[in-house]
């Protein structure tokens, strides 16, 4: 089949991903140098860790005997706050995201509106929740109101971006068909666009509510209300039994939220 002479010793080696040997060595050395430098930057202090291990033992011991009762009222209050923030933020988030979703979809929005909406969404999405929460706490004072605003901004950013992408992916023929009946712009949206994205959008909202609840557990650490604030206090007092109880509550609620949200979304399909 081929003319390769059989007497020649034929060999095969796996070809290396980077061809030049020098480059491979150089990259290896650079990586090694970086690792050494970076490890040094962590300034691991063995004495401090040795001291901390005792505390770690105490901490995990206490976590195994969580105390739900000592600060029962605060825990319940914190959980309710987190839930209330999630519900209200999801409601307002959906409401405020609708104009942005419509504006940020290339196929239905005029150019200037499109760019403006995308700009707003980029700004909303680029700031980490915790940084947003800090800002809002400074503006609006401690408490769940600041947390609520944080979650609304995040919800709008998330729904706006993904909702707009959904609209951009709709079947254009359906929309053209509705257009060709002489429908007005709102009618086009209602009959040509909304039915095509409704199911996915409902899925996004439920997923986002789940995410909001997760975030609501953490923004309390910077004063924006919810269960995180109660955890901060407990840790600050070295009250590890209560802290353990709160962690357990958070884990269970987050899991429930996750299973609930994925069960809901499966029913939508």
């Amino acid at each position: 089949m081929t003319s390769t002479p059989k007497e020649v010793e034929r060999v095969w080696k796996k070809p290396p991903r980077i061809k030049s040997l020098g480059l491979r060595v150089l990259l290896g050395l650079a990586l090694l140098a970086y690792v050494i430098y970076a490890l040094n930057s962590f300034e691991v202090d063995p004495e401090r860790i040795a001291y901390g291990m005792g505390r770690a033992g105490k901490m995990f011991g206490a976590f195994l005997k969580p105390n739900f009762l000592a600060r029962q009222n605060y825990i319940i209050q914190g959980v309710l706050e987190s839930m209330a923030m999630t519900v209200v933020a999801t409601g307002f988030g959906v409401l405020f995201s609708i104009p942005l979703i419509l504006g940020a979809a290339k196929n239905i929005a005029p150019r200037p509106v499109y760019f403006l909406s995308r700009l707003i969404l980029v700004v909303f999405r680029s700031l980490h929740v915790v940084i947003l929460a800090i800002m809002f706490v400074i503006m609006f004072g401690f408490g769940p109101f600041a947390g609520l605003l944080t979650l609304i901004v995040n919800t709008v950013g998330f729904l706006g971006k993904l909702g707009a992408e959904d609209i951009e992916n709709i079947n254009p023929e359906t929309l053209e068909a509705i257009k060709s009946t002489g429908a007005s712009w709102p009618q086009q949206i209602l009959y040509g666009v909304w039915p095509q994205i409704a199911t996915r959008f409902a899925g996004l909202v439920i997923y986002r509510a789940d995410q909001s609840f997760r975030q609501s557990t953490v923004i309390g650490l910077v004063g924006a209300g919810g269960i995180g604030a109660v955890l901060e206090t407990a840790m600050g007092r070295y009250d590890y039994n209560t802290a353990g109880a709160i962690l357990l509550v958070i884990i269970v609620l987050v899991l429930l939220g996750e299973y609930g949200s994925s069960a809901f979304r499966r029913r939508l399909v």
Partner: protein, 270 residues
């Protein structure tokens, strides 16, 4: 969509009356929950502060300008620390996640009991955000980059392992059978059957997580995890808004660059 028959011929409505009532009740229920929740938050809110907020905001925004560009000299080294923290946090998480995911995946787990333990670890580390982990770890290893790195790693374990073990469970079984039928040992089946199939997912997940970790590591310093978040917190406490804006801008640029790198890298492995 039913056609009802009333006295004078057929009548079309988009929903039959029972369905319409059910829908109405669901919406009503949702609204009631919403208002109860809103009232609850309203009670916890000091409305005087809210009314005052626009003035507050105008005040600190005006004090952001002109930005203190000289502060960049302090920000950049700390940004570098933040990057190291994210990279090593991701690295440690991946190193632990690979065996953990193998133990947790239905088709590779050695025993049902081992699988449950692995899943429990994944669930616990995943449900608690890195900021909370940092809060705990700061008390154990002391404040600083090391605590931040560990916090990023612990959260990462949960997130990465979950995606890894799902990828392992969805693997194409036929090539695995083929490798088995050559008489390969279990380790060799892993090496030739599993590893090549999983590599793209593993790399993609890792890069994606690294990007998220960059974001997370910028704030981990707020609770004592070191890096740029620590500077942010202290600048806010000192009301140095001209420095705050420099830090925020640096964070924004970093996050954009990370997003870009991650998108490019994921494109390359596919």
């Amino acid at each position: 969509m039913p056609v009802l028959t009333r006295g004078d011929g057929p009548l079309w409505t988009s929903r039959d009356p029972r369905e319409a009532r059910n829908r109405f009740l669901k919406w009503l229920f949702g609204l009631v929950v919403f208002f109860i929740a809103f009232r609850f938050i309203a009670q916890e809110t000091m409305w005087e502060f809210v009314a005052d907020a626009p003035f507050q905001a105008a005040d600190f925004i005006s004090r952001m300008f002109p930005p203190d560009f000289g502060y960049t000299a302090r920000v950049l080294p700390s940004l570098l620390d933040t990057m190291n923290l994210a990279i090593f946090g991701t690295f440690v998480a991946v190193v632990i996640s690979v065996p953990l995911a193998i133990l947790a995946a239905k088709n590779t787990s050695p025993h049902q009991l081992v699988r449950l333990v692995a899943l429990a670890i994944i669930v616990t580390t995943r449900s608690v955000t890195s900021l909370i982990w940092a809060l705990l770890l700061v008390q154990i290893v002391g404040p600083g980059l090391f605590a931040g790195m560990l916090a990023i790693a612990v959260r990462g374990i949960g997130m990465i392992s979950k995606l890894f073990y799902e990828a392992i469970e969805e693997i194409d079984q036929e090539p695995i059978e083929a490798i088995k039928s050559t008489g390969a040992s279990t380790a060799q089946v892993f090496l030739y059957g599993y590893v090549p199939q999983l590599m793209p997912t593993f790399v993609g997940v890792t890069v994606m997580r690294w990007e998220i970790n960059i974001r997370e590591s910028t704030i981990i310093g707020i609770v004592g995890g070191g890096g740029i978040g620590f500077l942010l917190n202290s600048a806010i406490n000192r009301l140095r808004w001209d420095q705050v804006i420099v830090i925020l801008f640096t964070i924004l640029v970093t996050v954009f660059v990370a997003e870009w790198i991650s998108a490019k890298a994921r494109e390359a492995v596919l």
